[in-house]
Subunit: 427 residues, 2 copies
């Protein structure tokens, strides 16, 4: 069988499985998910064995220690995977919600109801826990999924999927086994083949760095929901409570610097820069945050620079950069208008916050910043499925077609219109 | 200026205009739209003059009479365009709707509100009235639009856009003139350039035949909402009221055969085929509908064939075909399950209907047919923005990401999350 035939078969099987999956009841899906979670724990030994083989092979190819750590599955990580699947089982079923209802003058009753999307492809990098995570979210939302993980994790991913599927099939004889499939080859060309199957694949969601996302977008013929990067901002307005601003800025940068909703650039109104910047500067330096400042903020920051504090000049490229690290751009702006323009130009339409007591400024910021999440007096770090009350999350979209912002189960659905008539004809 | 520079400039101007447009009030947008509608009528003479030049040039290139008719603008068509724009002005503003609202345990209040998408590209074929139509719908929904019409209609499209923009700018000094732009060249390569501008263009909506849609999908790097084709079905169940079935099938095929929601294939349960097919067959033949039948239905239809009635054998390819014409496939199936399988395999996920008095069969059909609109005892012809109560419509989507089915103003919006806090930090 050629690669094309092999991948096409995956797509066709997924489409067929999606038809059967869409008809399962909520109770059937939950029972399957609980069985899958139990299997992840009870079949821990063979899963860890497969992972061990992946780890050995990866170590031989010289994979970095950090990457090896991401690849590793131990008892704790396996327990976490199982717990994640149980949490998905407990969430409300996102399929079959009535989104709209109307009766037309001719008596035709229309109902807009949520449906599964159909067949979803998830492309991700090394962490094998994504396999259980993505599979359970897609299953609960009635979508057949084709998973393409990192090449170094293939055995681990296959083992996880195998035991999840086997457990569900024991639980429910009607379980459509092809609703969870792992691309069985590490050939790069397989991705291009997969993303050409417009007749079978409804959506691709890449999860990973900007390079992966761009590569997927470049070749895909199917719709892609993207999360390019998180270049997030906090703007400290002239009318900000400076203590609140300090706490929010510190939280947005330092609470977890490596994630997409962490702040990368701090914008400060010129009026409060002399009083605010020394406060936050000292605090960030104490946490070893490197500052990259524009000329105006550099002059202020320099005066109060502690020994060992790193203060550089920000380049234009820095303003576009997602550091995911203890580095922060700092820029002085002239008012809320310039802050908004900076964010819409350099940002990634992810999460941005204004700190101010001035409602007019806040309303302007909320209205004009064109990002998935815009905050007034809160940290950017809240953009997250769990924090938004969605339960688990499959990703955060920086797109505007389909889902935007955190994507939970509801964001994994489409809809259809049902028309209930008694013989209505178009005149 | 190279073509790339020229097209990039269109994109950049559209993005800038979209920022300004998103801030206009409903009243400002309505006033602009009414001024545009007035201008279409009062500047009728130069618009018709531009159209006359297009018609002359098109006639010289040997364009068919049918195509020339589609290109032509006369007083009636211009009045219709103006009326369409006034209707859009009168519709509710789709931007700023509160789609969801929740307060989290930490006191953070979240609001999900509808926003414009941003910059939309519309690619269409010859009819110049689409220019006014698409421009007004995009304007009302706060989207900057880049219009690429048929090459033979360039002067007409430019004239329509010019007078709409000039009128709006007189009405409102803050009107962002680049929110409506016509691609100023007929070069084919311009489309590829336009659909590569991922930093400026948020969405492309091609309107036209399947060939156009496939060509756009093939080259586009930006999301495309597609309406491939309408291969719509009516299934006459064993428990159908046969008189109702006859009326619905006749309406679905004959009320307007050239449109996408007209029926292309009639499926009939074997149990009622002998009684139903002769009735509908005679009625369709009287309207000169060519029948392409499978073996079982051919045998029944042949007996009652009137003189001059055309009865052929359906090929497998016929079941995939959108005729947009007085041709109908007829097939006998064994029950609702086989009908559903036929529709999900050969259909285009557009509009399908079951006629039955049996609620179990109807519920199964509604649940399992994977189409944008699924009807019970009603004609497929209702899939339409106006019939759904959406007002005007920019198209019908057969996609599952973003809008599905008829697309009115609401379907031309995205959303963002606003977070209202009082100093919330992530812990």
């Amino acid at each position: 069988m050629t690669l094309t035939e092999q991948i096409t078969r995956l797509g066709r099987q997924a489409r067929e499985a999606s038809r059967a999956l869409a008809q399962l009841t909520t109770a059937q899906k939950s029972a399957c998910l609980l069985a899958m979670a139990d299997a992840i724990e009870s079949d821990r030994a063979p899963i860890e064995q497969a992972n061990h083989l992946d780890m050995e092979a990866a170590a031989e190819t010289g994979l970095s220690a950090a990457m090896l750590d991401r690849l590793k599955l131990d008892d704790k990580r396996i327990a976490d995977m199982a717990r994640g699947v149980r949490e998905v089982a407990a969430l409300p079923d996102p399929v079959g919600r009535i989104l709209d209802e109307r009766t037309r003058p001719n008596g035709l009753r229309l109902q807009k109801i949520s449906t599964p999307i159909g067949v979803v492809v998830i492309i991700y990098e090394s962490r094998p826990n994504v396999t259980a995570d993505a599979a359970s979210l897609c299953f609960k939302s009635g979508n057949a999924v084709i998973l393409r993980g990192g090449k170094e994790a293939l055995r681990s991913n296959q083992a996880i999927a195998h035991f999840m599927i086997a457990a569900a099939a024991r639980q429910l004889p009607a379980f459509p086994a092809h609703c969870i499939q792992i691309v069985p080859t590490t050939e790069r060309e397989a991705v291009r083949e997969l993303l050409s199957l417009t007749q079978y694949v409804d959506l691709c969601m890449p999860r990973g760095g900007e390079g992966l996302i761009r590569a997927v977008t470049e070749v895909s013929k199917v719709p892609v929901i993207k999360h390019f990067k998180g270049v997030c901002h906090v703007f400290v307005d002239a009318d900000a409570d400076l203590k609140m601003a300090e706490e929010i800025a510190f939280n947005a940068k330092c609470q977890r610097p490596a994630v997409c909703n962490a702040m990368e650039t701090l914008l400060v109104d010129r009026a409060v820069a002399p009083s605010f910047l020394p406060l936050i500067g000292r605090r960030l330096q104490a946490r070893r945050v490197e500052l990259r400042a524009d000329e105006a903020s550099r002059q202020i920051l320099q005066a109060g620079l502690a020994a060992g504090g790193v203060l550089k000049t920000a380049s234009e490229q820095d303003y576009f950069t997602e550091y995911n690290d203890c580095i922060l751009n700092v820029r002085v702006v002239d008012g809320v208008g310039q802050a908004i323009d900076h964010i819409n130009h350099y940002g990634s339409a992810h999460s941005d916050s204004i700190v101010t007591a001035n409602e007019t400024h806040a309303r302007e910021f909320l209205a004009r910043v064109d990002s998935a999440a815009v905050y007034w007096n809160a940290s950017t770090r809240f953009t997250d499925g769990a924090e938004f009350g969605m339960g688990a999350e499959i990703g955060i979209s920086t797109d505007k077609i389909g889902a935007r912002g955190p994507m939970g189960l509801e964001e994994l659905t489409s809809y259809k219109w049902l028309g209930f008539g008694n013989g209505q004809l178009r005149t």
